[in-house]
Symmetry: C2
Subunit: 315 residues, 2 copies
């Protein structure tokens, strides 16, 4: 079903993620070709870089669109006649799925650091141990999905099966909403020099990501507007309940029970004990593993993965 | 006006803060006496520990109430006939001011770490460089305030002049509201094993303090209910504006301008350049220094302090 050792991969876009992918694939013995509007840094580093997208695709069986979301539809359209598998690395998967019309498109998202950018910052070890969401939809060809999963696990990453909708909900919760909370909290320093002097650990950590450029936060959150707004509403609801409790006759007694369950969830995160599991090569079984917080580590004659032993299904 | 080298200080309550204060004062050559319901650990460490509060107060010129807020009124009442200066170390200053009736009471709050507790965790260097708010109210005797300020700067701490109301507003912004945001964010993990697996840096930092015990967060926030609710409302307002922007036709364009100013405030925090200033021994001048984000470092023939050069008065 998949033989990851000799896949011929073309990486379109050679920034931090694309460049790191080119390096990581080459280091694991895969044949690679790169393409970028300016591919000179990758060429200077000794990688084969094609002069055009058609040239880059000529011998490839997998094409990775490693371009930002706004460029995805345009570059994706140039792959119309490409017979191989197509994947991407953008951070929202519903819009990516809508943007790329290719019949063998499988959306992907490596949850790898992106604080630096450009080929110069690329690193063949960027994906070691990283969670890499690989989208599994009704239209997805399972063999294509497993080929990509094999390629990704060969880089040392953990393949998390999810639908695009599940992915986008999850990243709203764990990344997009946190950026908006950090920003709103930073706003409390307006005109407050004394508060700025007294601020320490809880403020520092709670606002760290607010230092990200406004356009980048807006692009992330606005690119995933529905799930971000929905989860932001949940947070606003919780904060409103806390505010109501602060107005109660005994605010401490009113507030305490509201804080207990979220505190427990945080103390139990991240999970620390995992079971090794074998998974059927079946979309429903794979998605169930992903929903349980699990991932695949080996794509061979059997599919091997891990799942957390913590029960997060409720109190 | 103050001679900090031979102040005789009694510390009532020998937990982390009280114990550290006993150690720090003794290390700087001050005469100290301690008292605690169980003072055995301090006595075993070689400190003079009195058997009763009156005995502890017998020769003291300053008494520090190093007990939690709920115990403050009760222990404070035992100081009714004490002729010396009284201060405290609790984390909300309006309620402390209301709880301690002593005519020479000056509220204080060392912004020092409290993740550990008990005398066993005490550290003579706990206050090195820490901001220590010292309350200056219309009823405060300035000489008493300066005596305490001299004692505190002798420990290497930075004395921040503030009214109780200013202090409580500031800590709501930089500590109490951050704890509630972290808790609300942690609540988004409910039943979300996949999100828990994908969560990384922004979630980890944004939720760190939610792991604090619910009763402690509720006691902090509920003990400062008014300012916490007020600032929480400001945050809810900002988050609601972000949510509205996410519903706009072009959410990225709508969201970006809302994030710019808070992001700038965070990038400029903490201040890194400071001016050395001399301050008149006058309540208005001292409070103005505190409002500008400044603090005192030396209480001598002249008062010397620092203030940040960054202008936080607005955009």
């Amino acid at each position: 079903m998949c033989e990851s050792a000799d896949v011929n991969v073309t990486v379109l876009g050679l920034g931090l993620i694309g460049g790191s992918l080119l390096r990581a694939l080459a280091a694991r013995g895969h044949r690679v070709t790169g393409y970028d509007v300016d591919g000179s840094a990758a060429a200077a580093a000794g990688f084969p870089v094609a002069g055009t997208i058609p040239a880059a695709l000529a011998d490839a069986s997998v094409a990775v669109l490693a371009v930002p979301l706004p460029a995805l539809a345009g570059v994706g359209a140039e792959l119309a006649g490409f017979p191989g598998i197509v994947t991407d690395v953008t951070s929202v998967k519903g819009p990516a799925r809508a943007a790329v019309a290719h019949p063998r498109f499988v959306g992907g998202h490596p949850m790898a650091g992106t604080e630096s950018s450009g080929f110069a910052a690329s690193d063949p070890h960027l994906f070691d141990g990283c969670a890499w969401v690989l989208c599994l939809e009704p239209e997805t060809d399972l063999d294509d999905w497993l080929t990509l999963a094999g390629l990704i696990t060969s880089l040392g990453a953990r393949v998390v099966p999810a639908t695009a909708a599940e992915h986008d909900q999850a990243v709203a919760r764990i990344s997009h909403v946190p950026h908006l909370l950090a920003t709103a909290l930073s706003g409390l320093l307006e005109g407050q020099a004394q508060a700025a002097t007294l601020a320490a650990g809880s403020f520092r950590d709670g606002t760290r990501v607010a230092a990200t450029r406004a356009e980048l936060i807006a692009a992330m959150c606005g690119g995933n507007a529905g799930p971000t707004a929905e989860n932001l509403s949940t947070v606003i609801g919780a904060l409103s309940a806390y505010r109501d409790a602060l107005g109660a006759e005994d605010p401490i007694a009113a507030l305490t029970p509201l804080l207990e369950r979220p505190g427990l969830l945080r103390r139990e995160w991240p999970a620390t004990t995992f079971s090794t599991v074998e998974v059927e090569p079946d979309p429903a079984a794979l998605l169930a593993l992903g929903r349980a917080g699990g991932w695949l580590t080996e794509i061979g004659p059997v599919l091997v993965g891990k799942r957390p032993e913590t029960d997060r299904s409720g109190s």
